[in-house]
């Protein structure tokens, strides 16, 4: 079957690729473009390890087709840091030891970015429900949620005691 030409913006840069119609955006990112930071944990939209932001919307890239990326702006984990400066969310995850194996971490960080873009001042309950689509089997979520609440306060310019 002929491949489809797709033009999109990935992590702020224009990207062009050819993909099979049945290929998911996750497969395109990982196997066609070579951005392997987004992970496949389930392939069915249940674990969130493949989370990306598509035009300001948090998406499981395993549930979106590559061809649907046409004209869209996509942010993956590789686009969260500013060059060699970590995003405050990334820095806070490190400081709080909010990761163990690190496999779910890219998805959690992307999902946290999407949360704070939409709601800079979430309650703990709001943060927990927002991140309920990102499974983490190592941490029990405790340090993840603490990191999210703390970085949210930092990004609002509040000093947390």
């Amino acid at each position: 079957m002929a491949k489809t030409y797709v033009s999109a913006t990935i992590n702020g840069e224009s990207a062009e690729f050819l993909c099979e119609t049945q290929q998911t955006l996750l497969d395109v990112l990982r196997d066609v473009i070579g951005l392997t930071g987004s992970k496949e944990g389930c392939g069915s939209g249940d674990c969130g390890a493949c989370s990306v932001i598509v035009d300001d919307r948090l998406v499981c890239s395993c549930l979106m087709l590559g061809v649907e990326a046409e004209g869209k702006s996509i942010t993956t984990i590789e686009g969260i840091a500013n060059g060699d400066t970590l995003h405050p969310i990334q820095q806070k995850f490190l400081e709080y030891a909010a990761l163990q194996c690190g496999f779910c971490t890219p998805g959690l960080i992307v999902a946290t970015k999407a949360l704070l873009d939409e709601n800079p001042n979430p309650t703990e309950t709001e943060a927990r429900y927002w991140l309920a689509g990102n499974l983490c089997r190592c941490t029990g979520y405790d340090k993840v949620i603490r990191a999210v609440m703390d970085v949210a306060a930092d990004m609002r310019g509040e000093k947390v005691a």
């Binding site: 392997t36 389930c42 990761l99 163990q100 971490t105 927990r128 990102n134």
Partner: protein, 755 residues
């Protein structure tokens, strides 16, 4: 050397882990992230039946499909004789593992591998699988453990004759073995008892549910050399299994440890690697394989489900005089459930005069079980700690007091033989007593439960190298895959010995050709055993650096002191020379004996056992049966927390897995023996909104056999949660829930039955 009473500068602090930045930026390379030139995709054909004879497999059409480069079946794998393997965690048999990787004449569970293809794309590989014609003769199947033990049950293995009973049975059955542990005189014990409680309990198999599915990339070269990248808890374990299962020599196999996306015991055996190597050999190309989540559920090991009875007899003052337990553990399709530790761990927290435990290892048409965090202990402890709660209620004694009264102490002889030494159980119970959670009044409608847990922890074979680089920075290499922050803890111990900041030491996991043999990551052994090897290697480096300084200054070695990362002239030479730090000594290395490094390989002994106690408050929604965890505190003796954040993380993560085990996780089979919930939507692991914060309380009773006093910490925290929650539900509702999971339909049904 022993640093337990030393003032420490690095150990006990919370530096950022050496592999952290890679993991928050997406750069960390997991097994599925690797590629090779000319790489093919390998996929496996799996049984659609729970139990069937393979009458024939016709691969002609699949092999003829354009883009298919190899098709393999059981015929492509050597026959392996039955032989006990001591390569992974828990009991294993090389023949069984070979048959589990690729069925020969019979499939034993839905998902059992029976053929594989390698093709240029994943789509072509899928098409090829669909073209393989298999004729099955479907056989009666059996799923549940007690059904599998019943006379007349379908027998999985015609050559399975129960071991551990005399005389040896003459007919085959699904009972692989019977194990017994006895202490004292159980009949006399119960005769002496003033109060006796009994209970029957069941637990469901639960999957480790690491978020990263199994994956590997294998290359077989024409000269017989094999390269494997894979995600596992032991790359030396992968090497050993591949060599044995494929009849290769170990020196021809090099395994590179990828970052591992969670294991919890489930990555202590092989599924894909022998198949990928065989496909690579047949196709002449590199082959990449990765499981889907469905594959992970249907074909990789959960831990056992179980049916258990427990009986405890006590004096009116709470002194336990007799304790009896019968455990029936599902092994899955091949023998090897964690029945041994199951029999040992249930009563290991207590000082009991008369004990009788019998355990059965039982096969049925389910995926072969794999280790899962303290294998066997959470199952047996759910039963024992639930019944301890009933005993406390019946005696009118506080749950903590009952445990204090019977707690194992130093010198207590266990029912399985060893005498407890240097244990911190009493300190853990003291910490429960003084904790604000335990002392706080219960909120209206809430219930509170307490449960304790034990795990042995192990040591074993480990290798570590410490290199002082040309600029005085340090690289520490070990053979232990890092599944939860061990590179941080190992680097910190090395930094402490060398007297440098943690950031000066970079820790890596070296491949099988680059470091001495190291047993897999499991049994909570890495910070203990590999940490001990790394500490000793750092000490050897310090001795070498002192010698080099002495040579430079032309003074005796014993006149050199090492402190704060530098050599100082000491004694009568004090102040005679400027100190030489790591960078200065590294600069002179060429003139003082060449490169500076030490490697230490040990078989570490003396892993201190771990004890924990969890306090849990719940509320129960009477309408839906939903149990909400309102407050959770996990207290554990960790010996010495090298990096407290990652120790807390182990405890919080273990508790969360236990909460899932208690409330929502289970395998659901239909009448045909097929799993109906092989995905994260229907197999429900805890998500962020299910969980409260988990307060981890670190009790530090040093383990004198480790240089810094560390004990293993990763496994104990999954032991207490199920009973802690069951006991909290009992407290909230008056209902005893003896069957896991305590999911809303079951709780609701129990509430309804109670009126």
């Amino acid at each position: 050397m022993n640093y337990i009473d030393s003032s420490l500068k690095v150990v006990g602090t919370r530096p950022i882990r050496p592999d952290g930045v890679d993991k928050v930026t997406g750069r960390a390379v997991f097994a599925a992230d690797t590629r090779a030139s000319g790489m093919l995709w390998g996929k496996i054909l799996r049984s659609p039946h729970a139990h069937a004879n393979i009458v024939s497999i016709d691969t002609t059409k699949a092999a003829a499909l354009k883009g298919v480069f190899a098709v393999v079946t059981g015929q492509d794998f050597p026959e392996i004789a039955s032989e006990e393997a001591f390569v992974g965690e828990g009991p294993m048999n090389f023949r069984d593992l070979s048959l589990n990787c690729m069925a020969r004449t019979k499939v034993l569970y839905e998902g059992h591998a029976l053929a594989a293809v390698a093709a240029s794309t994943q789509e072509i590989a899928d098409q090829a699988l669909a073209l393989i014609d298999v004729t099955y003769e479907v056989l009666p199947h059996v799923i549940d453990v007690e059904d599998a033990m019943a006379p007349g049950a379908p027998v999985l293995h015609a050559d399975m004759f129960t071991s551990g009973v005399t005389p040896k049975p003459e007919t085959a059955s699904n009972i692989a073995k019977v194990v017994t542990f006895k202490k004292g005189d159980i009949d006399a014990g119960f005769a002496e008892a003033e109060v006796i409680v009994e209970g029957s309990y069941t637990t469901q198999p639960v999957h480790q549910a690491y978020i990263e599915p199994h994956a590997c990339l294998a290359t077989y070269s024409p000269d017989g050399q094999v390269q494997i990248h894979s995600s596992s808890q032991g790359h030396f374990m992968i090497r050993a299994y591949v060599a044995k299962l494929l009849g290769m020599s170990i020196s021809n196999i090099r395994v590179n440890p990828a970052e591992i996306g969670g294991g919890f015991g489930g990555k202590t055996l092989v599924y894909l690697e022998p198949v990928a190597v065989t496909l690579s050999k047949k196709s002449g190309r590199s082959v990449k394989m990765q499981m889907t989540r469905e594959d992970v559920f249907r074909a990789s090991g959960p831990t056992s489900g179980a049916a258990m009875t427990v009986k405890i007899g006590a004096k009116k003052d709470g002194t336990i005089v007799a304790a009896q337990q019968v455990l029936k553990f599902q092994a899955g399709a091949f023998a090897g459930s964690p029945i041994g530790p199951g029999c040992m761990c249930g009563f290991a927290m207590y000082d009991l005069p008369n004990v009788d435990v019998v355990g059965y290892d039982v096969v049925s048409n389910r995926p072969k079980v794999a280790a899962y965090r303290a294998p066997g202990a959470p199952i047996t402890s759910f039963a024992v700690e639930s019944l301890m709660d009933e005993l406390a209620i019946k005696l009118g004694i506080d749950a903590l007091t009952l445990r204090e009264k019977n707690a194992a102490k130093n010198g207590t002889k266990t029912h399985y033989g060893p005498v407890h030494q240097n244990i911190g159980f009493t300190a853990v119970l003291d910490a429960v007593k003084s904790h604000p959670h335990w002392k706080s009044p219960l909120k209206e409608g809430h219930g509170r439960g307490l449960a304790t847990g034990f795990w042995f922890n192990i040591g074993g074979e480990s290798s570590a190298q410490v290199h002082v680089n040309e600029d005085g920075t340090v690289t520490a290499a070990t053979g232990s895959p890092d599944i939860g922050g061990s590179r941080a803890s190992i680097g910190m111990m090395v930094a402490e010995v060398l007297g440098v900041p943690a950031t000066t030491v970079r820790t890596i996991v070296a491949d099988t050709a680059s470091i001495g043999f190291t047993f897999l990551t499991g049994g909570s052994r890495v910070t203990f055993a590999t940490g001990m090897a790394a500490t000793q290697a750092a000490e050897k480096v310090v001795e070498d650096l002192k010698r080099r300084a002495a040579q430079t200054w032309d003074i005796p070695v014993d006149a050199v002191e090492w402190k704060d990362g530098a050599a100082y002239p000491a004694g009568s030479n004090a102040g005679a020379f400027e100190p030489l730090d790591l960078a200065a000594l590294a600069l002179k290395a060429g003139r003082t004996g060449g490169p500076i490094l030490a490697e230490v390989s040990i078989n570490a002994q003396g892993a201190g056992p771990g004890f924990g106690a969890h306090i849990c408050d719940v509320s129960v929604d009477k309408e839906t049966g939903h149990v909400k965890i309102e407050r959770y505190t996990a207290i554990q003796d960790v010996g010495k927390a090298i990096h407290p954040s990652y120790v807390e993380g182990q405890i919080q993560g273990g508790a969360a897995q236990g909460i899932g085990w208690a409330l929502s996780e289970e395998y659901i089979y239909n009448a045909k023996g097929l799993m109906e919930n092989a995905g994260f939507l229907d197999y429900r692991v805890p998500v962020a909104s299910d969980m409260p914060m988990i307060e981890a309380v670190l009790v530090e009773v040093p383990n004198p056999r480790h240089p810094f006093g560390a004990r293993g910490v990763g496994e104990v925290p999954i032991v207490p949660p199920m009973a802690a929650i069951a006991n909290a539900i009992r407290s909230a509702t008056g209902l005893r829930m003896p069957d896991l999971p305590m999911s809303p339909p079951k709780v609701r049904a129990a509430l309804d039955a109670a009126g």
